[in-house]
């Protein structure tokens, strides 16, 4: 067996495993995705960002990705990327936070970028996107488009980002339609097309005529389409799955951020920081407004421009919680970033309970 091993190694080396010198000059960039790249949602969009890097720096970078990586198992995989010469590593799910920090301590010369977390280090940057900005816009559209005044929301897990999304959506709808209600169903999964479809069907059956979702598959939109109702795509443009139903979609766009961070890395100017970009930074953008009257479209575009310009905010004070108490206003006339990032309360008027 030993001889066999040595022989095999020798053959492997002869087969050209030893990396040629030219390849070593390339910046190796690694990605870890929590879902399959084919989820057409969260991981798919991160992979689009990876491909954008390859396109932007031809011949200068080499990228690697590991998909469907269980969070409990990720420390080894992150370390393996660091060990194999990846100098910049993107870990694209909240659950990778502690493993990323642990590995970062061991590899001070490797730079890490952790999506949606809050702990940083010298070589660990965090980044996320203000998806709730888009949620406010689609809330307004929904408020205008609904005939039953009942909006359906297929939610994944009660984490702050999802809760803030529901709040922004409802506040947006309320701003144009005081009679509107939102019904929330927790699928308790990010990705299970069948269950997401069933959740959408339940909402439709209970009178919702606009379906919004914070789960990753296009299944809820297909259901809205089949029922002749409306909906909003999530993470990527889902218009091909719901050509008559999709009003718009909130698209996660990591490309510009990834390209910028890679550029800094190539120039040796990378440093640790926190990025929380929204519409203005192009990390969130809206799919074309379709299937709606011109005045609704004009309203949506105006809101989008106002949020981009910073003159409009989903969480403008005063904000009231479910019991009707005013939430302390820690930002400049709006809730502070920290309040939004860690949001764990529903605003007044949402008929659902959060786990405490």
């Amino acid at each position: 067996m030993r001889h066999f091993t040595i022989l095999a190694s020798a053959l492997a080396l002869a087969a050209g495993l030893a990396a040629p010198a030219a390849a070593q000059e390339k910046l190796k960039i690694g990605f870890i995705y929590v879902g399959p790249v084919g989820d057409f949602g969260w991981s798919y969009q991160h992979d689009r960002g990876r491909l954008a890097i390859e396109k932007a720096f031809p011949g200068k970078v080499e990228t690697t990705f590991l998909e469907n990586m269980p969070e409990a198992d990720s420390e080894r995989s992150i370390e393996q990327l660091a060990r194999t010469g990846h100098r910049l590593i993107f870990t694209t799910s909240f659950g990778y936070m502690e493993p990323t920090l642990k590995v970062a301590k061991k590899y001070p010369n490797v730079m890490f970028e952790h999506a949606t977390g809050y702990k940083r280090d010298k070589n660990v940057t965090t980044y996320s996107a203000k998806f709730h900005e888009g949620r406010y816009i689609i809330g307004q559209i929904a408020g205008k488009m609904t005939k039953s005044n009942t909006l359906g929301y297929v939610a994944s897990f009660p984490i702050p980002e999802v809760v803030a999304g529901i709040n922004a959506y409802y506040l947006g709808a309320l701003s144009v339609n005081p009679a509107v209600k939102v019904k929330v169903v927790w699928a308790n999964t990010w990705f299970d097309p069948g269950k997401e479809a069933d959740a959408a069907k339940a909402l439709l059956a209970q009178g919702a005529d606009v379906i919004s979702q914070h789960t990753d598959s296009p299944a809820p939109q297909q259901q809205a389409e089949a029922a002749g109702k409306m909906g909003f795509g999530q993470a990527s443009d889902m218009i091909r799955f719901a050509p008559k139903a999709q009003l718009t979609a909130i698209i996660d766009d990591w490309s510009s951020y990834y390209i910028e961070r890679t550029k800094l890395m190539l120039e040796g100017k990378w440093e640790s920081k926190d990025t929380w970009g929204g519409l203005a930074q192009d990390m969130v953008h809206m799919a074309p407004y379709t299937n709606m009257p011109a005045d609704v479209k004009a309203m949506a575009e105006a809101t989008q421009a106002a949020i981009k310009a910073g003159t409009m905010n989903a969480f403008k004070c005063p904000v009231f919680d479910q019991e009707g108490k005013e939430v302390p206003c820690k930002g400049a006339g709006v809730l502070s970033d920290e309040q939004v990032v860690g949001m764990n309360f529903y605003v007044k008027g949402i008929d659902d309970k959060l786990p405490k």
């Binding site: 053959l11 969070e71 409990a72 420390e75 393996q80």
Partner: protein, 355 residues
């Protein structure tokens, strides 16, 4: 012409030892063809998949880290399977073990409690897994309800319970309401500086030896074996079937719970959703790969761990898709199973006329 299996009189130790090597060879040939079809070098794939994990220090450590929970769970399961009890809920028992074991580290967090927390937490983890496994066992004993269904359904219940706790009551108050507990003060020490080999690994071989001893040299072990092979004889011999069901499940659940709490204390350092990448299910494969014998299961666990590490290497070094490494994992397991069968039986081609 047709195939016929003829049991071999005595396969011999050499054949048994050589079988896995032939299996490996067959799998490598099949895998090599697939890799070549994908336009990559089969030799390079062989190197990163098998040679590298077995020749580099870090990879050997990772294999040990990965094999530990698989082995501990599989050994527990083997008690059930030998007694013809179908516990397929080890995943749930793993989670509940981790969860109950974490109570102490959570409660004592920030109090500077001493070194006793870790062993106490481990004991609690074992108890937690044990109690959870006694639910399907108890339902079977009391109502004759099939343990296959109850143990599997309880996996989902365990997952959702963990999910509820880490999003609700046990959430880290300083964690921006993200679903996770505080990082525990009490964790298992690392064995190698800068490595990931944690002290929990030492328990795996101990468990294997203990299981071997119990099965071979105790009356209880004898009872388990007889109950599986000849249930009627077991009854005549005075083994009480109900007690056997409960104890086999208790051992199985206790060990799954042990694996769970070791994983949390040794690897993860906190509770969060998805603490297991399916160890409880993979361990079922390990148990049967190892033919339910402690020694066999050690090899089974190592093979499974190797395929994970090797598969990941292949994704990184050769940019092979994850699905391809999964296909290869499936093929490799099938080859091992086939080789195993070929040791036990001789395959003869018999022409239809003669038979």
């Amino acid at each position: 012409m047709r195939l016929e299996l003829v049991p071999r009189a005595d396969p011999g130790a050499r054949a048994r030892a050589l079988a896995p090597l032939f299996a490996l060879l067959a799998a490598v040939l099949i895998g090599g063809v697939i890799v070549a079809l994908m336009g990559r070098s089969p030799l390079a794939a062989f190197h990163v998949y098998f040679v590298q994990p077995l020749t580099q220090g870090w990879a050997l450590q990772e294999i040990a880290v990965k094999a530990t929970p698989l082995l501990i769970i599989a050994i527990g399961l083997s008690f059930c399977y030998r007694a013809n009890l179908w516990n397929i809920g080890a995943e749930g028992q793993f989670i509940i073990g981790a969860l109950v074991g974490s109570i102490l580290p959570l409660v004592t967090h920030g109090t500077g409690a001493g070194a006793w927390v870790v062993p106490a937490a481990i004991v609690m983890g074992i108890v937690g897994g044990m109690l959870f496994a006694l639910i399907p066992a108890g339902l079977r004993v009391a109502f004759g309800v099939s343990e296959i269904l109850t143990s599997l359904m309880l996996v989902y219940v365990a997952e959702l319970t963990l999910d509820y706790l880490v999003r609700g009551p046990w959430r880290d108050p300083k964690g921006f309401n993200f679903p996770q507990t505080v990082s525990f003060d009490a964790t298992l020490p690392y064995l190698v500086d800068g490595g990931r080999l944690h002290a929990g690994i030492l328990l795996a071989p101990l468990v294997a030896v203990a299981a071997w001893f119990v099965l071979k040299h105790t009356l209880f072990g004898f009872g388990v074996r007889v109950a599986g092979e000849a249930p009627k004889a077991a009854r005549f011999a005075g083994f009480r079937p109900n007690r056997l069901v409960l104890s086999a499940f208790a051992i199985s659940g206790g060990l799954a719970g042990l694996a769970g709490i070791l994983e949390v204390l040794g690897q993860i350092g906190q509770l969060k959703p998805g603490i297991s990448p399916g160890y409880g299910f993979t361990a079922i494969t390990v148990a049967f790969l190892g033919r339910l014998s402690p020694v066999g299961m050690i090899f089974g666990a190592l093979v499974m761990a190797l395929t994970v590490i090797g598969g990941e290497n292949a994704q990184i070094a050769l940019k092979l898709p994850l699905d391809l490494t999964r296909v290869f994992q499936g093929v490799l397991l099938m080859c091992v199973l086939a080789a195993d069968a070929l040791v036990t039986y001789e395959v003869r081609f018999v022409s239809e006329a003669r038979a």
